[in-house]
Amino acid sequence: MEAFQLKLVANVDQAIGFAQPAANGQANDASTRFLAGGTTLLDLMKLDVERPTQVIDIHRLPLDQVETIDGGGVTIGATVRNSDLANHPLIKSHYPVLSQALLSGASAQLRNMATTGGNLLQRTRCVYFRDPVTPCNKREPGTGCSAIEGYNRNLAILGTSEHCIATNPSDMNVAMTALEATIHVESAQGKRDIAIDDFFLLPGNTPERETTLNPGELITHVTLPAPVPGNRSVYLKLRDRASYEFALASAAVVVRVSSGKIDHIRIALGGVGVKPWRSKEAEAQLLGRAPDATAFRAAAEAALQSAHVQSQNGFKVELAKRCIQHALTLATQTA
C-alpha cells in the first residue's frame, strides 16, 4: 500500500474542506478518497489499484440515521451501515426489495462495515481491473480492455462499449434504482441532488469515469420517494453459490396490480449491466397488462433486446430473462 495522509474529521464541513482541490494544493482531487467502511477502498489500496495520497476518514460523521421525510419517503445517511439499513424497521416494512438486496450481498462482517455512500461507489470485480499488471481502460485509460478477449464470464452484457465491459457489482444499487433513489452530495461549491439513474455513467470512451460525482463532492445522504401504496417488491439474485457471491444476474422488481392489471412497475437488473440497469423497455411491456407468464416473458425479452455478449457470458442472456420472469412471478403471486 502506498503512503497517504490520513485526515480524521468530526463534521461534513471539515471533510469537504480537506477534499476541496484548492485546499490541498493539488490540481484536482483525484488522489483524495473518503474512507467509510473501507471494504472496497482498502481492498483496492492493498492491490495498488487505488493509490490516494490523501484519505479522509468519514466513518464517524453524523450521517448514520434513517428517518422518514415529508411526503412519506425516507432519508438514509451516507454512513448508515448496510446491516443497519437492511434491518431497519422502516426499510423492512416499506422497501423490502432494498432490505433483501442488502442482505444478499457480501458477508455479515462486510455488511457491518460497508456504508450506503460507499456501496454506491463500489468498484467492479473485473479481474483485470483488480490486477495492476494487465491492461485495463478503467484503471489505466488507453491501455486497452483485457476482458473482451479474456476472462469475461462474469462481466456485463448491457451498456458495454468496446473499451470496457465491467459489471457494477452492487446489489443495493439495483434496488435503489428500482426505488428511484436520489443521491445528495455536498462540496465546498455547494449541494446537488442527483437522480440515481443519472448518477451512474456508461463506460463509452471514458470507463474510468463511473459516476457524475465531481472532484471534492461527498455523498451525504440518499432519499427514497414514498412507497406506492399497495406495491409489492422483490429482489432475486442468481449466483454460483447460495451465499457470499456476486450476482450473475439479479432483478429488483417493484410492482402494483390493481383490478387485475399492472398499474405501477419498476424493474432494475444487476450482474448484467455496466451500471445498475433500469429497464424501461421491460416496464413498457408490463404496464396496463395482466400479470401473467406471457407478459413476463415479453418484458424479459424486451429487457435483454440490446444485450451484447462476449465469448464466455452468453449464458447470462437467458439467465437474466428467467430472473426477471421469476422475480415478477414472486412479486405478483397471490398468497
Binding site: 484519505v55 476518514d57 458477508s107 455479515a108 457491518n112 462495515m113
Partner: protein, 221 residues
C-alpha cells in the same frame, strides 16, 4: 501511558532458562524473516538486470506522501494501549504485530475469508479491511478477550465439544463471528446459521460441526 502486552502465563514447573523459550510463533517469525531476506536478494538482482538492459534512466520515484506515524489510543479487550503507528496499519496487523494478540489470524487479507474477524463496539468486522488509527474510542474485542483456558466462552467450549475445527486456523474468526451472531437478527434454522456464517471460510470443511456448536449455544441462551 503505554502498556506492554501481557506475557503468556508460564507454569511454575517450566524450566528457567536465559534463552528465550522457542514458541511456534518465534520460530515461524525467524523462518519468515530468512525467507524475506532471500526474496529481497532475488528482487534486487532482477532490478539490476533490468537497468543494465535499459537505455532509459529509471523513473524518479514520486515524492511519497507524509508517512509519519500517527498517535492512537486503542481499547482492546478492556485494556487501553497508546501506539505510534503508520496510518496504513490495519487493525489486524495492529493487534497481531503491535499488541502481540496473535489469536486473530491473517488469511486472505482482503475481507474474503473471515479469519481476521474481531468485534468493534460489539459488531463483527473484518479487521484486515480497517485502519487501526480510525478506531480510537471504540471497544475492540479479539478472541483473547472473550475467554481464557479454564474459563472458556460457551461458544469456545461448544467448538471443542463438537470438534468444530481441524487445523484451527479459521477457528478464532469462526468463534468471533458465532459470538456476534448470538445477538443478530437471524432465524433459528441450520440454514440461517449457514447464511450468517458464510463470511467465514473453513478450508478443512468443518462446517457441519461448526453449525452444531453454534446451534447448541443458541438453544441454551
Amino acid at each position: 501511558m503505554s502498556k506492554e502486552p501481557q506475557k503468556p502465563d508460564v507454569g511454575a514447573d517450566e524450566p528457567v532458562s536465559v534463552l528465550e523459550r522457542p514458541t511456534r510463533r518465534s520460530f515461524l517469525t525467524r523462518v519468515g524473516a530468512a525467507g524475506v531476506a532471500i526474496g529481497t536478494g532475488q528482487l534486487h538482482s532482477v532490478a539490476l538486470a533490468d537497468s543494465d538492459n535499459s537505455q532509459e534512466a529509471p523513473a524518479a520515484a514520486s515524492a511519497p506522501a507524509d508517512s509519519a506515524n500517527m498517535h492512537v489510543r486503542l481499547n482492546v479487550n478492556g485494556s487501553n494501549y497508546e501506539l505510534d503507528i503508520d496510518p496504513r496499519t490495519t487493525l489486524l496487523d495492529c493487534v497481531r504485530e503491535h499488541l502481540h494478540l496473535t489469536g486473530t489470524k491473517k488469511g486472505c487479507d482482503h475481507g474474503q475469508c473471515g479469519a481476521c474477524t474481531v468485534h468493534v463496539d460489539g459488531r463483527r468486522v473484518n479487521s484486515c479491511l480497517s485502519l487501526a488509527v480510525t478506531h480510537e474510542g471504540e471497544a475492540i474485542t479479539t478472541i483473547e478477550g472473550i475467554g481464557k483456558p479454564g474459563a472458556l466462552h460457551p461458544m469456545q467450549a461448544a467448538f471443542v465439544e463438537h470438534d468444530g475445527f481441524q487445523c484451527g486456523y479459521c477457528t478464532s474468526g469462526q468463534i468471533m463471528s458465532a459470538v456476534a451472531l448470538l445477538h443478530e437478527p437471524y432465524g433459528h434454522s441450520d440454514d440461517d446459521v449457514k447464511e450468517a456464517m458464510s463470511g467465514n471460510i473453513c478450508r478443512c470443511g468443518a462446517y457441519t460441526n461448526i453449525v452444531s456448536a453454534i446451534q447448541q449455544v443458541r438453544r441454551k441462551i
